[in-house]
Symmetry: C2
Subunit: 429 residues, 2 copies
Amino acid sequence: MQRLLATDPNFASQFRKVVNDRRESDADVAMQVTDILREVRNRGDAALSEFSMRFDGHALTRDDDWIISAERCREAYENLEPALRDALELAAARIRAYHKDQIPADRDYVDGDGVRQGAIWRPVDAAGLYVPGGRAAYPSSLLMNAIPAKVAGVERLVVTTPTLKGESNPLVLAAAHIAGVDEMWRVGGAQAVAALAYGTQRISKVDVITGPGNAWVAEAKRQLYGVVGIDMVAGPSEILVIADKDNDPDWIAADLLSQAEHDPSAQSILITDDKSFAAQVEDCIDLQLATLATGKTASASWQEHGVVIVVDKLDDAAALANELAAEHVELAVANPEPLLKSIRHAGSIFMGRVTPEAIGDYVAGPNHVLPTGRRARFASGLSVLDFMKRTSFISLGEDALEKIGPAAVALAHAEGLPAHAKSVELRLK
Amino acid sequence: MQRLLATDPNFASQFRKVVNDRRESDADVAMQVTDILREVRNRGDAALSEFSMRFDGHALTRDDDWIISAERCREAYENLEPALRDALELAAARIRAYHKDQIPADRDYVDGDGVRQGAIWRPVDAAGLYVPGGRAAYPSSLLMNAIPAKVAGVERLVVTTPTLKGESNPLVLAAAHIAGVDEMWRVGGAQAVAALAYGTQRISKVDVITGPGNAWVAEAKRQLYGVVGIDMVAGPSEILVIADKDNDPDWIAADLLSQAEHDPSAQSILITDDKSFAAQVEDCIDLQLATLATGKTASASWQEHGVVIVVDKLDDAAALANELAAEHVELAVANPEPLLKSIRHAGSIFMGRVTPEAIGDYVAGPNHVLPTGRRARFASGLSVLDFMKRTSFISLGEDALEKIGPAAVALAHAEGLPAHAKSVELRLK
């Protein structure tokens, strides 16, 4: 963990190093992934079988080995303990409500020159959702990816998930039931992404692929960008907590550790205007780490990537936050409104003392799939827009063509495109 | 050129081949581009100088060699012949009006559980626009990329363009003046894209890069996807014209050639329900090609990739159009409304007999940067959204936390993330 003081003469260069800290592994998987994609494209299911045995120890033989039926998902849902089932249902309902409101309106109007034009938004026909196996198989992540697709109107929503040694997570199956997943295939890794993009004998191809995954999955999505639509490349999680001294340091410590426990590469940053409050938070972190079940991971992340920055006044935090462009930003202050206005780059912002980031991970409603690694400078969280596309349209009558057609003719000639010019000229009186 | 009859027993497989026709070159430029990106990242301006001399024959020595000043753009604008200047201004005004209407609304509301949440849309800080050199330096393309960025509110809009042997196109400079471009650098190729993404001593980095380019530029954007935001990978242009026999075949021929003249890899497809009309259009194409200044390119495209499909009735065209998911679709029929509704996948649709596609290339208003190569299945044309990003926010009071917090605690424990659970539990009464 690093301590930075804004009054330190070296602060600017120290902070620059924090901003440029690359926590993403440059694992050299590109060539392996290229090979896997080619094999699945050429040999389909046969290649899937080979890779599933090799990487997941899972034999794809009978139909049951390939697919998890809707019945099994429903059973998993019905067998959940009621409190968990209610929690998943609450989360799903709130996520659904928030995302319904994102559906963009079509446009269709006639302008002053008599040109009718507009745009129509439509869902993609089919979407694929990658769900990691093992520890990272999170039901919340399934809800956050699947519900926006269904709200967008996607008719065919396909999940692929590795079932390591045949095992699958009942909470994930229950979430698939709640979200209305249409197909669930027991394949994982780059080979699953290839199957979704190219199609195989059993698995029909999709138009968009989203969802988290390891370095192979991420690289496969990157290589298939353009063959299908994909969500933003995701790196390790991060949180920036901006807190004044009137917070309970134990609360802030828990918030910082909630990010750190995800991954040794996760990053937790505290900005405060009070040096002794910063020290109290550090002490609380050490105490909590001592008993935390995920302490090993959280401790590694905090030691390696944790940062505590003491600034002169909290207003100075906005400029630092804009440099960091963090995935999650907590504003643990009495009046977070001015900071909300001045922080331009952030995935999601959590306002006030009783809005811990974990609320947004599960039940608030806005998506928890958010831009990481400073990508909030240009990228947004997952939304229904990732599962929709827009078709523009133009309709001219003869009068409108007489008005704006001659300008098109002039520009087409100037660009050396005479057939463009002719297609308009022929229609002018 | 291929002729297909929907009544032919082999039609399905012939049509499948048209749909799967890959017109994009798999030029093996990936490794060269990786090298260029690394050099620019490590050595900045020195690498730019070397590559500019090697690839464009342009020496980057004095300041004037590096940058085209705003004054030079203004002069180019003032020296344009008035008809062209007016045409550019008309195009710019109409593009501006259409894109202004795309700016998404922010959201901020309190829901039934007392949770305040919403989303704020903001422009990126800086955008880079690649403008090709030589023949493909189109002023219309500059307007179509630059105006949405400026309408979105981007404060710093940077153009890079190769000035082969030092030459630049006065129409492009005039368009840059109209669009309000802030910086214009005389570098091109993959090295220009690298400079925009990583920054060099002279060129500050940007957040989003858009604009057309050759295979090296496209590959550089693909490799830098995630370091910056980019627009969709673009391939050769295509048009699908759906026309009944009541059209003037000469008009339809010009429309098909307006796409073919772009590039030998462009594709023009006619679907009609009248065999003799199809033959008339083919004859008109041959006649027009004989005198067309771009005849060599247009002829190569039409011979290699042109397709004429005769269907039983025009209603059948919608299903074919959805398979093709073409960049441009013309509906040259008396009542295009039903086809507009049933065509789900298209970049842009041009309705009626007097709306040639070229109107959309220049002056209509909707963007002419559109998804190619069947990507309209999942991608949209360029818009202000490509230059903006969304930050979600959540604000809970104590009552709201009591309502939805326990569900978050239950899910966090179930996912094996105790610090997540604790950050909420500590705040519950």
